[in-house]
């Protein structure tokens, strides 16, 4: 009937046994590193590393699909924009006649794409190896406001809920004479008018849900929240966390040195 809350499926891999708290760090550590680094090599290296990580987390297929599915169109688009029309273009790679493809623009485009892909990839791996309930439990246990925790969970759940609602209403529509099969254009025409009402009703549902949460003690003062999901934070977790922070600091130092033309 309904889809699962998040994309977590137990796979018994190494990454699963790391505290969720720590798994947030790579997103920032790798992502920011890729952004600040002056050239694209770090970003590309990290992408290769993520592919290896995905392979060992038994996520290779889905990971490849999302990286290529997002990566190829966005690369083409950005190369088109920056490669042909980038203001910094000096070195001409290929002359198409009316427009010229510039090297600087292409590199700039690749830089953006690689940073985006690093973010996307780490997030994908984090999301697929972490059980959201656990993530939020460990976040609130380490001092994050429960309201923020709830926001994270609720927003992760919004999409599957809307999908569910949409499919139910579509079913009801076919029973009222709407043909939901047919050409892509036809299906699009049938689908669009539903979006508004579905979003609206999700909002009213959200209000009712807020009521539920409070009548079940959400936001009670002077009580430290506890969790049914077990929260842990091991020595390995600590080491991994410091390694990730270290990685970013090293990247930062190298970047500064490179910018200052020391190396």
């Amino acid at each position: 009937m309904a889809k699962a809350y998040n994309s977590y499926v137990k796979r018994d891999t190494f990454k699963e046994n790391i505290s969720p708290n720590v798994k947030i760090w790579p997103i920032f550590s790798y992502g920011l590193s890729a952004i600040i680094f002056p050239n694209i090599y770090l970003g590309l290296g990290l992408i290769v590393f993520l592919f290896i990580l995905a392979f060992f987390s038994k996520l290779f297929k889905g990971f490849t699909k999302i990286m290529l599915g997002f990566g190829i169109p966005i690369t083409l688009m950005l190369i088109f924009i920056h490669g042909f029309y980038g203001s910094k273009n000096e070195t001409i790679l290929y002359d198409f006649g009316p427009v010229q493809l510039g090297l600087e623009g292409v590199l700039h485009a690749l830089k953006i794409v690689s940073s985006l892909l690093v973010f996307l990839g780490t997030f994908y791996i984090m999301n697929h190896t972490t059980y959201t309930g656990k993530l939020v439990a460990s976040l609130t246990a380490s001092g994050v406001n429960p309201k923020v925790g709830y926001l994270v969970l609720a927003s992760l759940n919004v999409v599957p809920q809307m999908q569910r609602k949409l499919s139910v209403i579509q079913e009801a529509q076919t029973a009222r004479g709407v043909e939901t099969k047919g050409s892509l254009w036809h299906r699009f025409k049938v689908f669009v008018p539903l979006l508004g009402p579905v979003v609206l009703s999700s909002l009213t549902d959200a209000q009712e849900r807020g009521m539920t949460l409070e009548t079940r003690g959400f936001g009670i003062k002077n009580v430290k929240q506890t969790h049914y999901v077990e929260v842990f934070y091991t020595k390995t977790d600590k080491i991994i966390k410091y390694m990730l922070i270290g990685f970013f600091i090293v990247t930062l130092i190298i970047t500064i040195l490179m910018r200052l033309s020391v190396i």
Binding site: M1, V168, I169, E171, A172, Q173, T174, A175, R176, G177, V178, E179, T180, K181, P193, L194, P197, V198, S201, T204
Partner: protein
């Protein structure tokens, strides 16, 4: 109209076997009630009558035509289905728009839509509320809005999934009137309900489902006289019937007049 099921089976993608070979014929205009426990397969069964669900084995014939010959949208001219939860069906800004939606989809002429609008809004007692947003209705009024929007399409068969859910005395009267009116118009009403009082008051043809099969099918008096089989399906007859059965009455009675008539009969003996 004639709905015929030939050893109909349905297995959901999850592997749950909801229907295990149902043979059934529903014919004419006599309103039919389908009763049984949650999970007995009632909703799964009726969702086959307009093709929302397709048989995974066996056959469904509507007036002799296989259900698989047409899409649900095409069947909607003949078979109307009112969902259990009104929020699953309502999606427009006013009740008037909800009412017009189905008829427009099937290409009903403007003139006819207008006629239907007058008739249906009167029947569902929503005449003064046509321009309200469905959010402003109570849950029970919403239910009548969904019922109305299906009757608007003027189908030959109308299926109600738990219309009595959450209704008060007045709501049940309104429903009673709707079922009666539709019958007089020559429509076939098929209703799923847990409210046994409502069932015996309005339906002479009763079908009892249990664990994906039809356990009993026939005249309501006959069905409710089979106490042991009913127990098996966890269905309990309405209060008056139960009292009569426990006091040792032979006839099955459904209302106070029948009760007293049977009381007098026994008294004479």
């Amino acid at each position: 109209m004639r709905i015929e099921l030939i050893s109909l089976g349905h297995v959901y993608p999850t592997g749950d076997e909801a229907l295990k070979g149902v043979d059934l014929v529903i014919e004419g205009t006599e309103p039919v009630a389908i009763i049984g426990q949650n999970g007995a397969g009632k909703t799964t069964l009726v969702k086959h009558f307009n093709g929302i669900l397709r048989p995974t084995s066996g056959q469904v014939l509507i007036n002799g035509e296989d259900i698989n010959n047409r899409s649900t949208a095409q069947w909607s001219r003949d078979v109307g289905y009112v969902f259990q939860n009104p929020d699953d069906q309502i999606f427009l800004e006013t009740i008037r728009k909800e009412f017009e939606f189905g008829p427009k989809q099937i290409g009903m002429p403007e003139e006819k839509i207008k006629e239907q609008m007058d008739f249906v809004s009167e029947l569902c007692l929503l005449k003064d509320k046509l321009d309200l947003h469905p959010f402003d209705l109570t849950l029970t009024e919403k239910k009548f809005c969904t019922i109305g929007s299906i009757i608007m399409m003027d189908p030959k068969v109308i299926i109600f999934d738990e219309p009595t859910c959450g209704q008060d005395v007045e709501g049940n009267k309104r429903l009673k009137n709707i079922v009666k009116t539709l019958q007089d118009m020559g429509k076939l009403c098929i209703t799923i309900s847990h409210d046994m009082k409502f069932v015996v008051e309005n339906f002479r043809h009763v079908i009892v489902m249990c664990k994906g099969k039809v356990l009993l099918d026939g005249d309501s008096k006959e069905v409710f006289s089979q106490v042991d089989k009913l127990k098996q399906s966890f269905v309990s007859p309405p209060p008056i019937t139960r009292v009569a059965q426990k006091a040792g009455f032979k006839e099955t009675v459904f209302n106070i007049d029948e009760f007293m008539r049977e009381f007098d009969n026994r008294k004479e003996k």
